[in-house]
């Protein structure tokens, strides 16, 4: 391959007439794919209280608390500031109680605002 003078220049000049590759976030947003791992969503009626998700979570972000003494009803507290959005809870649960939604704009100023309770 021989040396040329400024071989990059034609490509650069072509870019002057193309649309820039930058997405002007937050005025334009690209859509997220399906199966995106956003926030964890819990469905309380399906939970059987086996606690596999609590044991498997790498970040200790899930707390399952029994609500009533007589029936098998549980509520879940999600510490979203610890959650790493790995979806291991979705895979581990035997009754398919969890799924992930498509939210990704989760920044807050106070980490205690990130505690989500699913009753």
């Amino acid at each position: 391959m021989s040396l040329k003078i400024a071989p990059f220049l034609p490509e650069l000049l072509r870019s002057l007439f193309k649309k820039p590759a930058t997405v002007k976030y937050p005025f334009e947003k690209t859509p997220v794919p399906k199966d995106f791992r956003g926030n964890v969503v819990f469905d309380p009626p399906k939970c059987i209280g086996c606690m596999i998700c609590v044991n498997d979570c790498p970040a200790e972000a899930i707390e399952i608390i029994r609500v009533s003494e007589t029936e098998k009803k549980f509520k879940m507290i999600l510490h979203n500031d610890r959650c790493i959005h790995c979806a291991q809870c979705v895979d581990s649960c035997p009754t398919k109680t969890y799924h992930m939604n498509a939210e990704f704009e989760l920044a807050v100023l106070n980490r205690h605002q990130l505690k989500i309770e699913y009753k």
Binding site: L9, L12, L13, P20, A21
Partner: protein, 322 residues
């Protein structure tokens, strides 16, 4: 009353206020063009399409803390940016901006091409002193590299600027510009000199491919490593004004100057300097940084012989024309 006109020239046009406003505009133009060549946007949100971004950068630097190293010479540290800025602004006063006739030329005199070239060399020496006086090994390396680069590009730059002067039979910027206005075809004789002057100007401004003295990924900031706050703001402004003055010098010598009265002269100034700055931005985007020994090798192997060749061509054409 007679004193008012020079003060107006020094302060407003082509003096300080015009230079500061126009150089920030040129920096915006350069950054926007550089970004578009790389298929991205460049400054966008400060002002309409980012035009106030260089001003925002300078204001931010003014607001930062000014730190001087303990062992450094405080007086020199503070004086150097101010001197450099003053020198470059003085060089701008010699550009033949609107004076096309003999009468009422502001401070033009025979030999002012040499004075402008000299005034543009002084900031390089000031960069070396700035690097030497900050007690930091990276700054010392940067300062030494600045002087080493000076050995490379200065001779080709002077020779290239010399050729149109020989053709026009004068050392005065005003007369060189007027000569090429009268005979525009003779501008084509100096094409090689134009290219050499562009490359050497890029080296003087320390932009890629010649930004070896303040190479960011090697020696952090080179001679500017220890500067912060207002002093760094002055050095940044210096870089912009030097770009405008250099572009103005090249357009006055090679591209036929800025004819007409006040307003047409201003329009020609803006058009021609923006043309030269576009070429500089394209050079900046298309190449990578070279090493200091490769730079000296390149200038003495290619630039200096081509500049001498240009001089020969000019002498032959001059003999044929007159």
């Amino acid at each position: 009353m007679a004193i008012l006109k020079p003060i107006l020239y020094i302060l407003v046009y082509p003096g300080l206020i015009f230079l500061m406003v126009y150089s920030t505009f040129c920096e915006w133009y350069d950054r926007k063009l550089y970004a578009r060549l790389q298929n991205r946007i460049g400054p966008l949100h400060t002002g309409r399409s980012g035009i106030l971004q260089p001003v925002a950068d300078i204001i931010k630097l003014f607001a930062k803390e000014d730190i001087v190293p303990e062992k450094a010479d405080k007086a020199m540290f503070t004086a150097l940016p101010i001197f450099a800025l003053a020198i470059v602004c003085t060089a701008a006063l010699y550009l033949p901006v609107w004076h096309y006739t003999e009468a009422a030329s502001f401070i033009s005199f025979p030999g002012d091409l040499i004075v402008v070239a000299y005034l543009l060399t002084l900031p390089t020496l000031i960069f070396f002193l700035a690097g030497w006086h900050s007690t930091n090994y990276f700054s010392a390396i940067g300062g030494v590299r600045v002087l080493t680069m000076l050995f490379g590009y200065e001779i080709p730059l002077l020779l290239a600027l010399l050729s149109p002067a020989v053709l026009a039979d004068s050392w005065r910027l005003l007369e060189i510009a007027r000569f090429f206005q009268n005979k525009p075809l003779l501008m084509l004789v100096n094409v090689i000199g134009f290219v050499i002057a562009l490359i050497a100007l890029q080296a003087k401004l320390e932009r890629v491919p010649f930004d070896i003295p303040h190479a960011e990924t090697e020696i952090i900031g080179g001679q500017f490593t220890e500067y912060s706050g207002k002093k760094l703001a002055f050095f940044r402004l210096l870089g912009d004004i030097e770009m405008v003055v250099g572009a103005g010098l090249i357009s006055a010598v090679f591209l036929g100057g800025f004819p007409g009265g006040l307003l047409p002269g201003l329009a020609w100034f803006i058009i021609k300097t923006l043309f030269v700055i576009s070429l500089l931005a394209a050079m900046r985007a298309a190449t990578s940084r070279i090493r200091i020994d490769q730079m000296i090798h390149f200038s003495w192997r290619w630039l200096a012989p081509l500049a001498v060749l240009q001089l020969f061509i000019v002498i032959i054409i001059k003999g044929m024309v007159s």
